[in-house]
Symmetry: C2
């Protein structure tokens, strides 16, 4: 939402219904060759019949335009139904109670009302799905009477291939990097029919038997023909190159710009950042999707990480809210979100984080019933020991790895303990009593330690009362990351799991994320930097222009593109590949909300670990600019304020100019007020890197 919405009439709808309706639409974008694949979880579309209410007073006569998507009527208290309605209400001065009842099965029921004195918006209209609950109507960025949410179209721009190559009778087009685009074939011969094979890798595009994405374009008498659905690809191969003159991509335009920035003379690190941002941009469409080629679905656990990266890049709160709302679905809650037990919990955590980063209590309140519903659903599925365990229909995911998740896993209990305590916090923030959930969390953690803590670390699982002594990183690192252990246990986990190469390695960026964040948590920032450069740098070394769903450095050749028993099954542009942005900004630059909604920030840059850098981080409604040349570090706050904590070995520069004289040290941290600058200089010889 833009800031001056109160002055413009907006299309309005039932809260959550735009998301529900759009979700159903967008989840139908996944294709495997010509096969359309929609999700295997229940999708709830919009309420088909909703009623809008508005009480308003006209100081003088007004002519009010009303436009509605759907069958509708207008009722004015005391006047009855408006008959012979011609699109405009002409009303004398006075006070009115108006109702607009809209019924629309195929599309989103929505309304636009615009007079001189009355304009539709969340502040003026309430709405009900006719269950006796009345909510403020929802609105978004739809202010044009002729462009309702139902008429939403993707924005695109033309993009020519960077190179073409004749291969057999066909042509291979290379767009230089992965893009999401329609393809348009121009100058087609009449009646021509062209097959297109897409590739995230060159190999995939040319392997026409196995490429995951294909299209078939017909010329129906017209000179040019375009594909119906965008595809994600770098390469496109068209075997019948003589059937048309030119191939052009209509590339989807990123809807929001990166509000962050990071550059460094360490070009590998800079590239990891750039490619991460680009990868997330490719996967952030109407919702935060898992991958650009596949699945093009919103998965709660994947989205959880995307939100975190988003807070340091696009700051697209609307997209976060859209995704959270859509994943929530409607009542009744009958299954886990995405059918995955862990993903229900990440959904609750994502709500916590959204609030932490934005301070948007209104959304927290909007989602509260859903969140409580899911937490109760989780509690309803614990066993006599209080442990979560997979029901036959549940998917206990944790990670793509050779792990056995049958029975009770320590990871799910740890994640649930975190979920419960964070939900208790949400309760308290909304003025509700969260102690029940806090106590549940405490009990669960206690029981988890009693059962799964063996020989100084968590074992992975128990089944039918029998412990499996296999150890994995998951529960252990989460317990450290979310501060659930005392110092002794924490150190034990660090030694016996985190730094133990015998424990199975993680091969997805998804869990690499938590592992690196945990290393940062325990102060091993060097390892984060080197680990990130090795892992994500490794993908760049393979020619990646976007980061992958999974990466195992030991795989060579086309083997690295295979997954799910398909030679090109792996997504090479996967949202969870983008998380180095978070690792850099949150874990190494140490920028995070110190108080809810960035009322104040905290910035703890690891200057003894990081190379030189020049960066900007979105912080609330402002920006924090950081610059470091290896010797001098400067932080400048614009429309934000907070605390900077600098490593030993740095001292405030005496002569920094501007208003920097004002800052002072509190609790070992320097307070940086709005529009201030602070500079530190490395004390030569005192710190050896």
């Amino acid at each position: 939402m833009t800031e001056n919405t109160e002055k413009r009439a907006a299309w309005i709808w039932y809260p959550g219904d735009y998301e529900a309706w759009l979700f159903c639409k967008c989840m139908a974008q996944r294709r495997e060759r010509d096969v359309l694949i929609t999700p295997f979880w229940r999708m709830d579309s919009h309420y088909v019949s909703v009623k809008f209410y508005c009480n308003f007073t006209l100081e003088e006569p007004d002519e009010i335009t009303v436009k509605v998507d759907g069958d509708f009527n207008i009722f004015i208290e005391g006047m009855g139904y408006v008959k012979n309605f011609d699109g405009k209400l002409r009303l004398p001065a006075g006070s009115y109670e108006m109702q607009i009842l809209v019924t629309n099965v195929p599309e989103l029921p929505c309304v636009y009302v615009c007079g001189e004195q009355l304009k539709s918006g969340s502040d003026t209209f309430r709405v009900t799905c006719q269950d006796h609950v009345f909510l403020p109507a929802a609105q978004g960025d739809f202010f044009d009477i002729d462009a309702s949410p139902n008429k939403r179209v993707k924005k695109t721009r033309e993009l020519a291939p960077v190179s073409t190559e004749q291969i057999g009778s066909g042509t291979l087009y290379d767009f230089g990097k992965e893009i999401s685009a329609y393809l348009e074939l121009r100058g087609m011969k009449a009646g021509a029919k062209c097959k297109i094979y897409y590739g995230e890798s060159r190999e995939e595009a040319l392997d026409t038997e196995h490429s995951e994405q294909t299209d078939c374009v017909f010329s129906c008498g017209e000179e040019s023909a375009a594909t119906a659905v965008t595809k994600a690809f770098r390469w496109a191969y068209v075997p019948q190159a003589d059937a048309f003159k030119e191939l052009i991509a209509l590339e989807e335009v990123f809807e929001t710009e990166n509000k962050g920035r990071f550059s460094s003379s360490d070009k590998l690190l800079e590239k990891i950042y750039d490619v991460s941002v680009y990868t997330l941009g490719m996967c952030k469409k109407e919702f935060f999707l898992d991958g650009a080629k596949r699945d093009r679905w919103a998965w709660s656990g994947d989205a959880y990480q995307s939100y975190l990266v988003n807070y340091y890049t696009f700051c697209d709160s609307d997209a976060v809210k859209r995704t959270i709302r859509a994943l929530k679905g409607k009542e009744p809650i009958k299954t886990h979100i995405n059918h995955i037990m862990d993903y229900t919990m990440y959904w609750v955590l994502s709500l916590f984080d959204y609030y932490l980063f934005t301070g948007d209590k209104e959304f927290l309140a909007e989602m509260f019933d859903g969140a409580e519903g899911y937490v109760k659903f989780l509690l309803s599925r614990t066993n006599a020991d209080g442990f979560l365990h997979g029901y036959p229909e549940d998917w206990v995911f944790i990670d793509w790895a050779a792990i056995d998740n049958r029975g009770e896993t320590s990871f799910e209990q740890i994640l649930f303990a975190v979920t419960l305590i964070r939900f208790a916090f949400i309760c308290e923030e909304l003025g509700k009593d969260g102690s029940f959930y806090a106590k549940k969390s405490e009990e669960l953690l206690k029981r988890t330690l009693e059962v799964f803590w063996v020989d100084g670390r968590f074992v992975h699982r128990r089944e039918n009362g029998v412990l499996d002594l296999a150890v994995t990183r998951y529960a252990n690192m989460f317990a450290v990351l979310f501060d659930l252990l005392d110092e002794e246990k924490r150190n034990s986990v660090i030694e016996k799991v985190m730094l133990n190469d015998d424990v199975q390695k993680i091969t997805t960026p998804y869990m690499q994320f938590y592992e690196q964040a945990t290393l940062a948590k325990i102060g091993m920032h060097e390892n984060v930097l080197s680990g990130m450069k090795a892992y994500w740098g490794g993908m760049l070394g393979e020619g990646a222009t976007t980061f992958w769903e999974a990466y195992d450095p030991s795989e060579t050749g086309a083997e690295k593109y295979a997954m799910y028993n398909r030679p090109y099954g792996k997504s090479l542009c996967h949202a969870w590949g983008a998380n180095p942005v978070y690792l850099i900004f949150n874990c190494l630059l140490g920028i995070r909300p110190r108080e809810v909604g960035y009322k104040t920030f905290l910035c703890e840059p690891q200057l003894n670990v990081l190379p030189d850098f020049d960066c900007a981080a979105p912080v609330g409604k402002g920006t924090l600019y950081l610059k470091y040349d290896g010797k001098i570090f400067t932080a400048r706050a614009e429309k934000c304020s907070g605390y900077v904590k600098i490593p030993d070995g740095f001292v405030p520069e005496a002569e920094t100019g501007g208003r920097t004289a004002k800052f002072g040290q509190k609790d070992g941290k320097y307070f940086l007020d709005e529009a201030e600058k602070i500079t530190f200089v490395k004390r030569e010889g005192e710190y050896v890197f």
Copy 2:
């Protein structure tokens, strides 16, 4: 469903979803002049994404046609997704597990599968809305691959007006009786635009300012133009008669035929029967609607009576099930059905009756969760005294009358006691323990008697602990009708309420129904016959061709058409006007199920009350033919059997021929076996009428 469905491939869908989708569509037929009015209760449409499952074995290779409404894919276990699908699966002999995932927001997701060996149907496919619950797929009367449920069209036939009359510059068309129809204007002048004013009464059609239904038909270059939505009317007035040559009605065809029959030399009684059947036929469209002109909505309490009449006429179980399913809606239950407290209870009672008349336990099981949900919802809304009372958002209807329903009404408690005991019966029939509900019923009745029973009858209500001593018929007659009172109390109610003209009279056929049925219950069959002839006969005297929503004999002139503060607001073709059919067949001919599903019938004709008659009653899958000429009574059973109980004064005829010798008397009743006939003769002089 026809009987040989197992041999034909049928369109299949998620159970209840055809009804949900169709309901949303049909509830948008109500119009007040040009204003479209959809219901003010929550409507739930179909699940937008459902997956069908089928395990099948082909003895030999088969070519299987698959047609789907919606986006879809086909997955075969071991073979994966079917690629390059061209409408047919060509499969070798073998065993298969097939899944068809269908996503369709605007329309009903449905599937048609037809091979030589595999045909889609409830018996072959299961389906889930992806909530881990798998149900047999639902099917109906859709066997044509090119005519899916989404392509359903109304059947019509041409009907010319019976007379026309020039009035001013316009023409008034009279169709002789009320019909539901589109109007087509033929031979229209190019660019002509004709307004149409409809009337259930002549007055309404000519009162162009106030007629409830209007249309405006444009000629878009074509010679003829038709209205978009059917209207219910007898008269149509077109002011601009020179703009076209001919007006013709396209009358909706009743979808099912009357399986009953009733004739008599008492022509008034015969006409009451005929007009009743016609009235119900007019209101039985895709669902049992309240009225043909208005509201054209399914109201649970209205439908409850229609179902009962239906069991003696159209026997359209599919329409009953469609209406019950649609009214149930989807989870979560947040409001009363139609927002009316009584109507939630009638919904449960209608399920009981449907089972009683049809013996369809499968449907009982299908609806069980919903029924239990509503009963629990009702229980959740009782107060500390265990009484139901209207929440601010509830509508406590009872009847259209000058009654005060605030606080706790005795009627709602009595209706709830009946609901609880009948739901307990439903539980037991399904092998579940119903004792909890039976006990609740008993307790509620006890408390109701303690509080509302004053001076030998129920007073109407209590508010804030203070009894209102006003007495109405409702609770009193229901308590008698549903056998809740001991003999002393019953007699007291008869004397102090039923036969007491000081108690406010009933002016709707709706509650007349229960009153007449109660009179029959207490043996006052003469009063039922005379009351029916006076009340419904009164409407016929007013020229009614269909029975009305309300009728007060004291009203004269156009006053009788007014309701809801509108001069023609009253519906003159209202389903609840049709209930004389039930009064004749159930209460006077005494035909009803003696055992569930008419395993045996009971027939207790009031031969000392009724005039001569010749009739047929649908009884289970058979028919019971009754004939009486004032002296000789004959009953003949075709494909059914049961008991005939004859009044004193009649004796079995010695010479009846056929197989009648076989019948014998049991428990004071004569058993009539399948294909038997039984004849009784009135003993002259022994009984004086």
